[in-house]
């Protein structure tokens, strides 16, 4: 079972951002997607998740089912999770309420905001501890005044509440110190062991100090230009992306 992206092309207006991207993310595997800024990595994650601003052609199969026409929330409920690089601020919405909503929707398929599940709050308190955040974080407004590292950790906790089959982590290692990256790395390894498929988008590949990838892809100018194993990381680190440019 896998998440398959087949001949995916993405454009906004007349501008083509992704060209004919094809890859396969197996359950229980970790794939690293590397590439320079502006190469289309975040666009790829948004397109898989179904951001409405793009014109998309090609197919996205989740365990064989074509989800490329589904609205974003249905993709999420079918088991796709995205940790954003720059998550949007939501004034007024408490972190605890968001987790509560995610969890209720996931379990019941409906959202009743007036129901607060105390178990979710207890669970959230524990998970916050695991990613190195204080319990008082529950009362903060979502992403408002979060430091770079707090955003990464908050995104991971939200994904854990969703319990998706496939996770896309967009730059999970930026804005974090080494201890933070280690925490995230360990969580990723645990998720992998539990049979999740994980795609990590990274510019600097700091996280590969803690996560051993099964596959590495290099993306440049909207295309995947090379695929291989962990050895590609060293290649990029020593030579940069210059070698790929035509």
């Amino acid at each position: 079972m896998a998440l398959e992206v087949l001949n995916l092309s993405v454009s906004i207006g007349e501008k083509e951002i992704l060209k004919d991207v094809t890859f396969r993310l197996e359950r229980g595997e970790t794939t690293i997607l590397m590439g320079p800024n502006g190469g289309g990595k975040t666009t790829l994650s948004f397109a898989i998740m179904g951001h409405p601003k793009y014109n998309v052609s090609g197919k996205i199969l989740l365990d064989g089912e074509d989800i490329s026409k589904l609205p974003t929330h249905e993709r999420a409920l079918k088991g796709l999770g995205l940790a954003f690089q720059n998550p949007v601020e939501i004034p007024g919405l408490r972190f605890s309420s968001l987790l509560n909503a995610i969890s209720i929707k996931k379990r019941t398929g409906e959202l009743d905001m007036s129901k607060i599940d105390p178990k979710v709050i207890v669970w959230a308190g524990r998970k916050l501890g695991e990613v190195g955040l204080d319990r008082s974080f529950l009362e903060r407004e979502v992403n408002i005044g979060f430091s770079g590292g707090e955003k990464k950790r908050s995104e991971i906790v939200q994904l854990m509440a969703m319990d998706p089959k496939y996770l896309i982590l967009d730059e999970p290692d930026s804005g974090l110190d080494v201890d933070g990256i280690k925490i995230i790395g360990n969580i990723v390894n645990g998720l992998k062991a539990n049979g999740k498929g994980i795609l990590i988008i990274t510019h600097h590949a700091e996280i590969t100090k803690f996560v051993k990838p099964d596959k590495v892809m290099i993306m440049l100018n909207g295309s995947i230009v090379e695929e291989g194993g962990a050895e590609l990381i060293e290649k990029v680190e020593s030579r940069g992306y210059k070698g790929y440019e035509r």
Binding site: H73, A76, S97, S114, M162
Partner: protein, 378 residues
């Protein structure tokens, strides 16, 4: 101090002469309050019945209640302020005054039922140095006006929640005055549902060293209109006012949310902060905001204001969508949470206010009022 009878008489002669409003609200809209809605009810006769509101209250104000009426007026509303004030006094049958000491108080008006204009008027006086929390709840089944005046004597400390539930099918007007004398302090909240035309005209007067933290919340739905005005006039040195208004416009309704923050020449070293936000939910929804500021002294410690009107952004809906929530669920979640978060400055009156807010929001959703979604521009 003037007698109620004299005021009624003055109101009777003035309301025919005075205009609803002298100066246009904007170059393109003469008035954000649609005064023609009130005009129809002037001079109409008819019977009035008063019913006891549901729930337990310490004081019931009105013909069904347990408070003695008063015959002398010592409040801050001038009968010649405009047509509304003049007509309010003209129609005022009973005036109520309550001296409030320290403690928790729940006050409700008797519910007037009538097709004619009914005026309600309550003056609350807080003793010097007292510390009180007050809930004032008004429901009506009639058109008309309600004046609520709260006078905080020196050093008094008040938490106040005013919950207003007018009848949807009539026009309603609320004239609220809060006067905070030297070193007084108030945390206040005003919540109102919508009516045919609902005007909430709230004015806060701050003396030396006083402090006000005020929040207001209004919902408008269907084709109803609300004009929510919150003015703050600081006339004492070192006073502080933090005021925020939130409005949500569903369906084809209009929410106008506005206020003027005045720091007068004498109010040196004062702070004023005014924030206004309107969320447009329905496809025909409209929102007008006017966060105005008049600073008459250069010796100001801080003065800021801001306003925004928008829908939830496309990026926000995408973000919550990626967590499994539909656009409708995302919108209702954010609206719900925003409504609740505006009560953060309350403590003793919080749960009462929160219940009312939740109840109204639930009703809006149950009635399927807000069917139209879709993101804003960005």
């Amino acid at each position: 101090m003037s007698s109620l009878d004299a005021l009624k008489e003055e109101g009777a002669s003035l309301y025919r002469k005075l205009k609803w409003q002298e100066i246009s609200d904007s170059p393109m809209v003469k008035s954000y309050t649609d005064w023609s809605m009130y005009e129809k009810y002037l001079g109409l006769g008819g019977d009035v019945r008063y019913e006891k509101p549901e729930g337990n209250y310490d004081f019931l104000v009105g013909d069904c209640g347990n408070v003695e009426p008063s015959y002398d007026y010592n409040g801050y509303i001038k009968v010649n302020e405009g047509k509304l004030a003049a007509y309010h006094f003209y129609e005022l049958e009973r005036l109520y005054k309550l001296k409030v000491s320290s403690g928790r108080h729940k006050i409700a008006f008797c519910v007037p039922k009538s097709k004619k204009w009914v005026s309600n008027h309550l003056i609350l006086e807080l003793e010097k140095g007292s510390k009180a929390s007050i809930v004032v709840h008004e429901q009506r089944r009639s058109p008309g006006s309600t004046a609520i005046e709260v006078l905080l004597d020196e050093g008094a400390d008040l938490e106040l929640s005013i919950i207003l539930e007018p009848d949807e099918s009539f026009p309603s007007a609320y004239i609220i005055r809060k006067v905070i004398y030297n070193e007084g302090s108030a945390n206040s909240f005003t919540f109102s549902t919508s009516s045919y035309m609902n005007r909430i005209e709230e004015r806060n007067l701050l003396f030396k060293g006083s402090r006000l933290r005020h929040r207001s919340l209004v919902y408008s739905y269907r084709n109803l209109k609300v004009d929510n005005i919150m003015d703050t006039i600081q006339i004492g040195e070192g006073s502080e006012a933090y005021v925020a208004g939130l409005g949500m416009a569903f369906d084809s309704s209009l929410s106008s949310i506005r206020g003027t923050a005045v720091i007068s020449e004498e109010a040196r070293k004062s702070v004023s902060d005014l924030g206004i936000e309107a969320l447009l939910i329905g496809d025909g929804a409209r929102a007008y905001t006017m966060p105005m500021m008049k600073i008459d002294t250069g010796d100001v410690t801080a003065a800021n204001h801001r306003a925004s009107q928008q829908r939830l952004s496309r990026n926000l809906l995408f973000y919550l969508g990626s967590r499994g929530l539909t656009e409708e669920e995302s919108t209702s979640l954010v609206l719900y949470e925003k409504s609740i978060s505006i009560l953060n400055h309350l403590s003793e009156t919080k749960s009462f206010s929160e219940d009312k807010v939740k109840g109204v929001l639930k009703k809006i959703y149950l009635e399927g009022i807000s069917r139209n979604y879709g993101p804003g521009g960005i």
